[in-house]
C-alpha cells in the first residue's frame, strides 16, 4: 500500500463520484448550526480564570518620535494591573508575514508611523478599566512631518520612515518587468485605450472585530487564541518575539467571523497580548473596537494606476503597459506580493504578446495596507477591463467579441510563464452573454440605463510558499477508531468561507462514507498538521487535495480489510452506497463499512492516515517569476445592468449575471455564497466604500461612516457556475472566493458608460463623482458645441 504523502499524482475522481456523494450538491456548512443558534464560540465569548483585559495606547500623531510614555494616572485607575511600554523586552523584535520584509514590532517606538500605531498597552481587571487607563496614559512626541501622499514618498529623504527602503526614498518595493516589444506594439497599434486611474483604500470590514487571548500555561508554554486566517504565521512570529522555540507555543483558532485578508498577518496586538501575559502570568484578552479594526487595516491599497492597451486592426491585443503607485501605509505586510500582483495578474485571461509593468509600493504615514480579497488584482483589473471596453468601442467590436477573440486558450503558457491548464473562460463569456440578453441590450437601452461586462482571472493558491521550506503547503490527518467516526485534523483556517465543510466532503468522498461521520478539528497547532492558512485562494485546492489523499489511504486500508473478509482482491472494492464497499464485478459481494472497519482495526488499532499537497514546480527564471504562479487559475465574466440617476449621480445596480469557472463546484451553496458575497464586497468598493483621511487622521472609522452596501443596495445576482474540471484540482475544483470580486467593479463602470456615456476612473464611483463626470461632459460638449455620443 502506498502512503498518501508519497503520491505525486493528483487525486481526481470527478468522473467516478461515490453513490452517496455530497460533491456538487447543496449543503449547509458544517458549522452553520452552531453559528445560527448562537452557540458558536468566538474570541469574544471566551473567558479564562483570572483573565486581564488589555487595551492599546495608540499614537495620536501620524509621524513622530516617542519622547516619553508617562503612565501617570493610569496606574491609579481602579483595576489597573500592568502596562507594556517601549524598551521592554520583546517589544522591539521585528516580525511580519513575509520573511523578506519583517518590519513590524509589538510596540512602535521610538518612531510612530501612523495615527493609531500602538505605542504602549495596559492590562486591567476589566474592559472599562482598561479603556480608562489607556486614555490616561500620556505620550510625548517629537512630531515629524508626515508623508501622506504616495508621490511625496517617491522623493529622496534624509529621514526615511523605514531603514530598509529603496535608495534613500520611502519606496518599499520596486518591480519592473517587460516581456516582448512593448514600444513596437504601441508604435504600430491600430487602436489603443487607457488612462490614469485612482483607487481609494478600502477595508475588509468583516463582522467580527479582531481579538485574541494569550494564556501563559503552568508549564511555561504560551497559548494564543486568536481570530486569525494564518495560525502558522502567527505561531512563527510569536516564537520570534517571545524568543521561545515553536514547540513551547500553541496557537488556537476558534470560530472566525470573517477575514477577507484582514486577519492574514501576524499582528502587533497578538504580540502585545503574549508579552503582557508573560509579564503578568495571567491570561490577557484583547478585543478591538471597530475604529481599531479600521486603524489596524491591512486593507486594499490606495493606488494610482496608469494603463494603456494596444490592438491591431484585426482586434488582436498587441501590448499592455501598466504602472502602479501603491500606497502601503506604515508597514510592509504582504506589500511585496501586492506590488507584483498589480502587474502579473493582468496577464490573463487574455493572450498578450507584449507586456510592461512598473510597480512602486511606498511607505506613508497611514494605517498599513495589506491583503484583501482579490489581493493585488482588483484595481489593476478595473483599469484593464474598462480600457478594453473603450478599445472595443474604438475598434467597433462588441466587448464580448473582443474578449473572446483574445482569450487565452487552455493548456498554454503566458508571456510571464504562468502555466494555464483548465480554462472555462469562453464558456463564462457565452453563459452571461445569453443569460443577460446582452445582444438585445448593449448600447440599445434608454438613456440612464446601461449594461456592462467585466471579466477576471485569479490564482488558485500561490504555488510558491512564503517561506522557502520543503515542507508541504498542506497536510491533513485522518483518524478512525472504534467509534467509527472520522476525525480530520488540519490547520486550514475556516474563516467562514467553509473550508471545514470542504475537508469533510473530500474525506467522506475519498473514504466512501457519509459526511455526518466526519468531524473536523482544524484549529489547534498542538494537534493539527501544518497548513499555511487561508489566503491566496489556496485552501480548497491545496488542503482539499491533501484531504482526498488522506482519505484515499484510509479507503485502501478498508478495502484491504474487505479483501481479507471476502477473499477477493482489495483493488476490486469500490464504495457502493449506504456505507458499503462493493465488488465491482460481483455486486452481490458487499461489505459494510462497520465490518470492514472492525476488521481493519483488529490487531492494528486506530486507522490513521496522512495526505499532503505541494504545488508543482512552475515558472520561468526571471526576477520575480515566482509571483502569480499558481497550480491553476479561475476565470470570470460578469455582466451588470444598472440605472443611473443623471440628476443626482446615483447608481442603482439592478442585476448581475456572474459566470465563474470554479473547476468543479464541490458545494453549490458555498460557491454561490462566495460569488454573491464577492459581488457585495466589490460593489462596496465600486460605489461607496472608501477610507477617508483628514491629514493623517482616519475620518470614517465606523460602520456608519464607512459605507458598506446594505441589503437594499444589493442587486439580484444570477450565478452561472462553469466547470472546467481542473486536472489537478481536488475532484476538479479550483478557487471561487476571491476572483469573483474583481469583475464587478469594471462591469459597473462599463455599464455606467453604456447608460450615460461617461467613463469613471476614480473608485468608488460615488454619486458625487458620477455627477461630476456628467457635468464635466456637459461642459465639454457645450464648449465643443456638439453633442457627442449618447446624451439625454
Amino acid at each position: 500500500m502506498r502512503d498518501g504523502s508519497a503520491s505525486p499524482d493528483p487525486v481526481r475522481m470527478s468522473q467516478e463520484l461515490t453513490p452517496d456523494t455530497t460533491i456538487g450538491q447543496r449543503l449547509p456548512l458544517v458549522d452553520s448550526w452552531e453559528k445560527v443558534s448562537g452557540r458558536g464560540v468566538y474570541i469574544e465569548d471566551m473567558r479564562f480564570p483570572n483573565m486581564l483585559h488589555a487595551r492599546m495606547v495608540r499614537a495620536s500623531v501620524a509621524h513622530g518620535l516617542v519622547r516619553r510614555v508617562d503612565l501617570g494616572t493610569a496606574r491609579r485607575v481602579p483595576g489597573f494591573v500592568a502596562a507594556l511600554v517601549p524598551g521592554e523586552r520583546g517589544t522591539d523584535i521585528h516580525f511580519g508575514v513575509l520573511p523578506i520584509s519583517e518590519d513590524e514590532t509589538a510596540l512602535s517606538a521610538p518612531r510612530v508611523l501612523y495615527q493609531g500605531d500602538i505605542v504602549a498597552a495596559v492590562a486591567c481587571e476589566d474592559e472599562l478599566a482598561a479603556r480608562d487607563a489607556a486614555l490616561a496614559v500620556r505620550v510625548e512626541y517629537e512630531e515629524r512631518a508626515p508623508v501622506l501622499r504616495p508621490k511625496d514618498a517617491l522623493q529622496e529623504t534624509s529621514d526615511p520612515l523605514h531603514a530598509r527602503s529603496v535608495g534613500g526614498t520611502n519606496i518599499h518595493k520596486t518591480v519592473d518587468q517587460a516581456f516582448g516589444d512593448v514600444e513596437r506594439a504601441f508604435a504600430e497599434a491600430h487602436a489603443q485605450a487607457g488612462g490614469e486611474f485612482r483607487f481609494h483604500g478600502v477595508n475588509h470590514a468583516f463582522t467580527e472585530p479582531i481579538g485574541c487571548i494569550a494564556v501563559p500555561e503552568p508549564d511555561g508554554r504560551m497559548t494564543l487564541y486568536s481570530a486569525t486566517q494564518v495560525p502558522h504565521y502567527v505561531h512563527l512570529a510569536l516564537a520570534k518575539v517571545l524568543e521561545m522555540p515553536l514547540h513551547r507555543i500553541r496557537v488556537v483558532k476558534p470560530l472566525v467571523g470573517g477575514g477577507f485578508g484582514g486577519k492574514s498577518d501576524p499582528f502587533p496586538h497578538e504580540m502585545v497580548a503574549a508579552l503582557l501575559a508573560r509579564k503578568t502570568g495571567r491570561p490577557v484578552k484583547v478585543i478591538f473596537d471597530r475604529e481599531e479594526v479600521f486603524l489596524n487595516n491591512h486593507g486594499r491599497h490606495p493606488t494610482a494606476y496608469r494603463l494603456q492597451v494596444a490592438a491591431d486592426r484585426e482586434g488582436r491585443l498587441t501590448g499592455l503597459d501598466a504602472h502602479a503607485l501603491i500606497d502601503g501605509g506604515a508597514w510592509a505586510s504582504f506589500g511585496v506580493v501586492t506590488t507584483y500582483y498589480n502587474g502579473v495578474l493582468s496577464q490573463g485571461p487574455y493572450r498578450l504578446p507584449a507586456f510592461r509593468y512598473g510597480g512602486r509600493r511606498v511607505y506613508t504615514n497611514k494605517p498599513p495596507s495589506g491583503a484583501m480579497r482579490g489581493h493585488g488584482a482588483v484595481n489593476a483589473r478595473f483599469a484593464l477591463e474598462t480600457s478594453l471596453d473603450e478599445l472595443a468601442e474604438q475598434l467597433g467590436t462588441d466587448p464580448f467579441d473582443l474578449r473572446a477573440q483574445n482569450a487565452l486558450p487552455p493548456n498554454t503558457v503566458t508571456l510571464n510563464h504562468l502555466r494555464i491548464t483548465s480554462n472555462g473562460f469562453l464558456e463564462c463569456l457565452e453563459r452571461v452573454r445569453s443569460a443577460s440578453e446582452w445582444d438585445r441590450k448593449f448600447r440599445r437601452l434608454p438613456y440612464g440605463r446601461g449594461i456592462g461586462l467585466g471579466c477576471g482571472f485569479y490564482i488558485s493558491g500561490s504555488a510558491l510558499p512564503i517561506h522557502r521550506t520543503r515542507t508541504p503547503q498542506s497536510t491533513v490527518h485522518v483518524k478512525i477508531d472504534v467509534d467509527g467516526g472520522v476525525t480530520i485534523h488540519s490547520m486550514a483556517a475556516d474563516i467562514g468561507q467553509g473550508s471545514d465543510t470542504m475537508l469533510a466532503q473530500c474525506v467522506a468522498e475519498a473514504i466512501g462514507v457519509r459526511m455526518l461521520r466526519c468531524r473536523v478539528l482544524a484549529k489547534d497547532t498542538d494537534t493539527a498538521p501544518l497548513d499555511l492558512g487561508s489566503y491566496s485562494s489556496r485552501v480548497t485546492f491545496m488542503a482539499g487535495n491533501a484531504a482526498l489523499r488522506a482519505g484515499e489511504v484510509i479507503r485502501r486500508k478498508l478495502t484491504h480489510a474487505c479483501a481479507r473478509l471476502t477473499g477477493r482482491r482489495a483493488e476490486d472494492f469500490v464504495p457502493g452506497g449506504d456505507e458499503t464497499y462493493v465488488h465491482r464485478d460481483e455486486p452481490s459481494i458487499r461489505v459494510r463499512y462497520d465490518d470492514a472497519l472492525a476488521e481493519a482495526l483488529a490487531d492494528n488499532g486506530a486507522l490513521i492516515a496522512k495526505g499532503v499537497y505541494r504545488a508543482p514546480k512552475l515558472g520561468g527564471g526571471h526576477k520575480g517569476s515566482g509571483a502569480g504562479l499558481s497550480p491553476t487559475y479561475s476565470y470570470q465574466a460578469f455582466v451588470a445592468e444598472l440605472e443611473v440617476d443623471a440628476e443626482t449621480g446615483f447608481v442603482k445596480v439592478e442585476k448581475v449575471w456572474a459566470a465563474h469557472d470554479v473547476g468543479k463546484a464541490l458545494n453549490v451553496t458555498a460557491v454561490e455564497g462566495q460569488i454573491e458575497g464577492s459581488i457585495h464586497m466589490g460593489l462596496g468598493q465600486a460605489l461607496s466604500e472608501e477610507m477617508r483621511y483628514g491629514g493623517g487622521q482616519l475620518l470614517n472609522g465606523s460602520l456608519l461612516d464607512y459605507k458598506i452596501p446594505t441589503p437594499l443596495e444589493m442587486p439580484e445576482v444570477e450565478v452561472h457556475i462553469v466547470e472546467s474540471n481542473d486536472p489537478e484540482g481536488p475532484l476538479g475544483a479550483k478557487e471561487c472566493g476571491e476572483g469573483a470580486l474583481a469583475p464587478i467593479l469594471p462591469a459597473v463602470a462599463n455599464a455606467i458608460y453604456d447608460a450615460v456615456g461617461v467613463r469613471l476612473r476614480e473608485v468608488p464611483m460615488t454619486p458625487e463623482r458620477v455627477l461630476a463626470a456628467l457635468e464635466d461632459r456637459s461642459r465639454r460638449e457645450r464648449r465643443a458645441g456638439v453633442a457627442a455620443g449618447k446624451s439625454a
Partner: protein, 321 residues
C-alpha cells in the same frame, strides 16, 4: 465597545422622573439610539440617565414622544391620513434601530458633526471641539461661538411642513408651542428656551393637517443606516387645482431644521407649474449653506437641495398632473 458607568433611572410617572432630575447632571433617554452611541464614545457623559420608556403619558396620542419609529412607520392612521410622517419614519436608520428609537428622541436628536461624533481617542488626538471638550470649532475658523453641527433628524422637517406643535412638560408646568419656534440655530444650545428638565410629551398636528399634501425627500448614500445629508419636506394645500398654500422645510443643511417661508411665498395661489417649482428649487439651492462636516461634500449637498426640492414639490402635485 462598552458603555461608561452611569446610573439608569426608570421612573413610571412624570412626577417620579422630575424628582430624579434634582439628583445632579442627567440626560433623558428615549430609545437611546442616539444618546448611548455618543456615550460609548465618551461624548458628554452624565452621571444619571432617566429613561422615559415606562412613562405612560409619552405613549399617548398619534405622535406620543415615546412611540417607537417602528410604531410610527406602521401606524394605520398615520399611513392613511399623514403618510409623509410614516414614510419619513420608515427611512430612518434601520428596521432594528427603529424598534427602539422613539419619536421624541428623533425630534430631540443631538446635532452631528464629523469632528464631534468620533471616539474619545479620535477627539483627543484631534484636539476636540466646541461641542465636546475644547473651545474651538474645527469646521469654521470663527463660528461666532455658534456650533455648526448639523441637525439631522428626519421627522422634524415633515412635522414642520405640517406646522405641528410640540407639548412639553416640566416639573411645574406643561406648555405647547409651534415646532417652528422650538429649535435654535446653535448646534450646542439647540433649543430656544426648552429647559433641561422639560420633557417632550408629544407632537400635535393642526386641525387642517389632513388638507395638506406633504412629501419628503432624503439624500443619503445608502437606503438604510444613513442619516440625511440633506432632507426636504414640501407641503401644499390644494384648492381646485391651485396651490393655495405651500410650505417647505429642510433638515441636515444647518444646525436647525428650517422652514423656508419666503421661498414659497411668491408662489402661493399659483398652479405650482414646473417653472414655479424650478424657481423654488433654485432658490432653495442658493439658500442652504451646508458645512464641511458630514460625509458628502457641501457643494454636492447644496446642488442636491434643488433636486430634492423639485422632486418633493412634484410629488405633492395631484397624480397625473
Amino acid at each position: 465597545m462598552r458603555l461608561p458607568d452611569f446610573t439608569l433611572h426608570q421612573p413610571r410617572t412624570l412626577a417620579q422622573a422630575f424628582a430624579v432630575t434634582r439628583d445632579g447632571p442627567f440626560d433623558w433617554l428615549g430609545g437611546g439610539t442616539d444618546l448611548l452611541c455618543n456615550y460609548k464614545w465618551r461624548i458628554n457623559v452624565r452621571a444619571n440617565v432617566i429613561s422615559l420608556r415606562r412613562v405612560p403619558e409619552l405613549r399617548q396620542g398619534l405622535l406620543g414622544a415615546g412611540r417607537t419609529l417602528s410604531e410610527v412607520e406602521h401606524d394605520p392612521v398615520l399611513r392613511a391620513r399623514y403618510p409623509a410622517i410614516a414614510q419619513a419614519a420608515s427611512m430612518i436608520a434601520t428596521p432594528l434601530i427603529r424598534q427602539s428609537a422613539t419619536l421624541g428622541g428623533n425630534l430631540l436628536l443631538d446635532t452631528r458633526c464629523w469632528h464631534f461624533n468620533q471616539t474619545a481617542e479620535w477627539r483627543f488626538a484631534h484636539g476636540s471641539c466646541l461641542k465636546a471638550e475644547a473651545d474651538v470649532c474645527r469646521v469654521l475658523p470663527d463660528p461666532g461661538n455658534l456650533c455648526v453641527a448639523a441637525y439631522s433628524g428626519d421627522l422634524a422637517p415633515v412635522l414642520l411642513a405640517y406646522d405641528a406643535r410640540v407639548v412639553l412638560a416640566g416639573p411645574s408646568a406643561s406648555r405647547s408651542l409651534p415646532l417652528r419656534e422650538f429649535y435654535a440655530a446653535d448646534g450646542i444650545r439647540r433649543f430656544r428656551d426648552k429647559k433641561p428638565d422639560e420633557v417632550l410629551v408629544r407632537a400635535e398636528l393642526p386641525a387642517d393637517a389632513e388638507h395638506w399634501t406633504v412629501r419628503y425627500q432624503k439624500l443619503r448614500l445608502r437606503q438604510a443606516f444613513d442619516f440625511p445629508e440633506g432632507g426636504v419636506a414640501a407641503a401644499v394645500r390644494w384648492d381646485h387645482g391651485w396651490a393655495a398654500d405651500i410650505r417647505l422645510a429642510t433638515t441636515a443643511y444647518d444646525s436647525i431644521p428650517l422652514l423656508h417661508e419666503d421661498l414659497v411665498a411668491p408662489h402661493r395661489g399659483s398652479s405650482l407649474d414646473d417653472e414655479a417649482i424650478e424657481q423654488i428649487a433654485q432658490a432653495l439651492e442658493e439658500t442652504v449653506r451646508p458645512m464641511k462636516n458630514t460625509s458628502m461634500s457641501p457643494s454636492y449637498r447644496k446642488k442636491m437641495a434643488r433636486v430634492l426640492c423639485r422632486r418633493a414639490l412634484q410629488d405633492c402635485r395631484p397624480q397625473g398632473v
